[in-house]
Structures are given as C-alpha cells and as structure tokens.
C-alpha cells in the first residue's frame, strides 16, 4: 500500500483529535481520580440528608476520600440510606462518624467522615452507626426561637436530650466515644 502525504496529515489530525479528547478527560474532567482506583462501599442512615446528591464528595479532614454512590429511601425506618464509595487506600474504624456538611454558606453538601478510636476497620457493606443529619436552616431557626422563648422560665431544663439530631458535631464527638467506653 503506497503512502501519501494526505495519509500523514489525516494521521496527524486524528492523533490531535484523540489527544484533545484525552486532554479533556484527564485535565478537565478529572477522570483519573473519580473512577480509576478500587473502592469499597459502606452505608449510612440519615434522618434528613438535606440537599445531598449522588456523586457528592466524601471528605475526611477536608480530603476527598470517596463519593456518594446512591441514595435510597428505607420504607421501614423512614430514613435515607446513603451508599458511600470509599477509596480502598483509606480505611476507617468502625465507630467512624458520618456528618453532612455544607461547603460554604450556600454551597453543595458533602459527607464528612470523622474517624473514631476502634481498632477494627470498616469493611465492604458495613453500616456506619453514628451519623449526623444535614442542617436544615428553618429547623435551626425555629429551634433557636423556641430556646429563646423558654430560656428565662427554666434554664436547668434546657439541657439537650442525648440523641437529639440538632446538636453540633463537636458535642456529638465528645459524648459518643465516652458512651462507648462506659458501655
């Protein structure tokens, strides 16, 4: 088969086009970190996930360690079951905390994992026991108003119930590991 300069140019053109596609995939679309690399799946149940969406990042200490794979609704417990794909390179203890945070004031929502103290690590298919729901702004405001209204009447009775879903992440972190040790 004889070769012509036209073939050369067509070859250059096709190579450029494929290189541009690869460039889009790697440099722009970030294909390298999202789908390459093995993952394991854990589930977490939330009473309210707010605006969390599939493919939202899962972060620990601010580093992306995985993605939300899918979200479904459990009709028996009336909770949202969120499946998280976590990179195999990162292992978390079984008493890890899963919280739903918001990036910035109005940004997208993501799941933050806070490692606990257990030695055993979460395996594929495990369920994260300790979760904290998304902050719903309306709920927070009504809570605040309610607290304000009841403040002068009974300051001692304002102590929060142990399993209330609106307490802050710091609170939850300090109380729950202690509970585990006591039990």
């Amino acid at each position: 088969m004889e070769r012509t300069t036209i073939d050369l140019w067509v070859g250059v053109f096709v190579a450029l086009g494929v290189a541009a596609l690869l460039g889009l995939a790697m440099k722009v679309g970030n294909l390298t970190t999202s789908s390459v690399g093995e993952t394991y799946t854990v589930n977490a149940a939330f009473e309210n996930i707010g605006g969390l969406k599939p493919r939202a990042p899962v972060k620990s200490a601010g580093v992306v360690v995985g993605r939300v794979e899918r979200i479904r609704f459990d009709t028996e417990t009336y909770e949202a079951i969120v499946s998280l794909n976590i990179d195999k390179r990162f292992s978390f203890p079984t008493d890890t905390f899963a919280n739903i945070y918001t990036a910035g004031l109005l940004g997208e929502q993501y799941i933050g994992l806070e490692a606990g103290g257990e030695i055993e690590a979460l395996a594929h298919g495990d369920k994260i026991a300790h979760t904290q729901d998304a902050v719903v702004l309306e709920k927070m405001i009504s809570q605040f108003l309610y607290n304000k209204a009841s403040e002068p009447a009974a300051p001692a009775a304002a102590a929060p119930a142990p399993a209330e879903s609106t307490k802050t992440g710091d609170d939850a972190l300090t109380t729950n590991p202690l509970d585990d040790i006591l039990n």
């Binding site: 067509v10 494929v18 460039g23 679309g29």
Partner: protein, 258 residues
C-alpha cells in the same frame, strides 16, 4: 389569491418530498458503506478534505471564543466574588454547548458547502451518470466515503475546539487577569464530569456530524444540474444545516439534562 395557495401547497409538498428523498439517501448510504470499509483510502482522502483543512478555522475561532468567554465570565463573576469559578464556566460552556455547536456551524460553512458544490458539479458535468454507466455505484463510491469522513471528523474537531478554547480561556484568565492558576484548574476538575459533560458533548457532535454531512450530501445530490442550481443548493446547505444543528441541540440537551 389562488396562486398564493398553490405556491404554499407546492412548496409544502416539495419540502416533504425532499425530506423523504433525504431519508432514502441516508438509508442507501448506510447500506452501501461496505466499500468505504473495504477501501479506507477513499475515506482518508475525504477526512483530509473535511477535517484537516478545517483545522485552521476551528482552532483560531476556538481560541477567540475561549478568550471572550473568560473575559465576559470574569466581568460578571467578580461582582459576586467568585472569579475562581471562571475555569468551570469556560470549560462547561465549551464542553457542553459551544464546542459541538459552533464546530458544527463552522463545519457546515467550511466543509458542508464544499461537499455540496463538489457533488453538485459532479452531477452537472454528468460524472455521476458516467459512473453509473460503468456499473460503479456513485453512492458507495462518492457519497458514503464523504459521509463517514464527516462523521469521523466532526467529533474530533469538536474535541479540539473545546481543548483549544479552554487554553484560550486559561491564557486570558491566568496570565492576563490574574486568577489563581490552581483554583482555575482544580475548580474545573471538581465540577466537570466525564460522563455527563464530556461524553454527552461527544454524543452531540456525532449527531451533528451525521446531520451536517447528510444535509450537504443530499443538497449536492439533489441540486439541479445548472450553475444556478448548484449555487442555490450550496446556500441551502448552510441554512438547513445551521437550523438542524440548533434544533437538534435543543432536543439533545433536553434529553441529557433530565
């Protein structure tokens, strides 16, 4: 008054006839593509004519489109204090919409007209009839290789358009305006999705490739064998392709967004 009604009626019938004939030519082209696969040299030659020769206009316009996007985007985004999102804006606009659509419009103007004029002239000078006399099917020898060349060339050109446009946007945003380089790329990578943005863009450009090339081929094949007929067919190629691309873009986007 009756004349007007007659005109409307005959034009409508003519358009419907052309639509049917175009669809028939499309089917015939697909059926007689075997020769293009057996003799890839035929397709290569046409990829050179439609793809390689369009490289200059595609890359230059992509560069300017990217630069304008970055300038305009920065102007608006900085009012909200989120000028780092400029990378996302440029990349999403190019990969999702502007890349496939503007490439298809330029392709219709640059390569589609050439195809129509070439085939129309082949018909006017009775080269197509001569082929038929020699028992060579003009559809498998002339039409099908051009069709496949267009379908191959347009997605590649669209990918190049997006990439060069992003580089143009980068050049304006980072060295010229002074947006942080790390934020430019990392925000882009965090928000552009391989499946939903890039693959959908490629699907769009393949569909546009089929539409633009097929319209150009049909107009050429259908052109009256006169100088005036060929010139009118060439004009119609640009008008019909552009309208088809924009309408198809809306339809495809509405499928993809949901």
């Amino acid at each position: 008054m009756i004349r007007l009604l007659q005109n409307i009626g005959s034009n409508t019938i003519d358009q419907i006839w052309r639509l049917g004939a175009g669809a028939r030519l499309f089917g015939l082209t697909l059926i007689s593509s075997a020769e293009s696969i057996r003799r890839p040299r035929l397709v290569t030659k046409e990829v050179y004519a439609t793809g390689v020769l369009s490289l200059v206009i595609i890359s230059v316009s992509a560069f300017f489109v990217g630069m304008v996007l970055a300038l305009q985007g920065y102007h608006t985004l900085q009012k909200y204090g989120s000028s780092e999102a400029i990378g996302v804006l440029v990349a999403l606009a190019l990969v999702r919409e502007l890349g496939p659509v503007v490439t298809a419009l330029l392709f219709a103007g640059r390569a589609g007209t050439a195809i129509t004029a070439e085939i129309g002239l082949m018909k006017a000078t009775e080269q197509l009839s001569a082929m038929e006399m020699m028992a060579v099917s003009p559809i498998s020898r002339v039409v099908a290789p051009r069709f496949w060349a267009g379908v191959i060339a347009l997605p590649l050109l669209a990918a190049l358009f997006s990439m060069i446009g992003i580089l143009g946007g980068y050049l304006v945003a980072v060295p010229l305006i002074g947006v942080d380089e790390g934020a430019f790329w990392s925000q882009m990578q965090a928000n552009v999705d391989w499946q939903f943005d890039i693959v959908n863009g490629v699907i769009k450009s393949v569909v546009f490739g089929v539409a633009c090339t097929m319209i150009a081929l049909f107009e050429g094949y259908d052109a009256p064998p006169t100088a005036e007929g060929v010139s009118r067919a060439t004009t119609r190629t640009v008008v019909t392709s552009s309208l088809a691309v924009l309408a198809l873009d809306f339809a495809l986007t509405s499928f993809m967004i949901i």
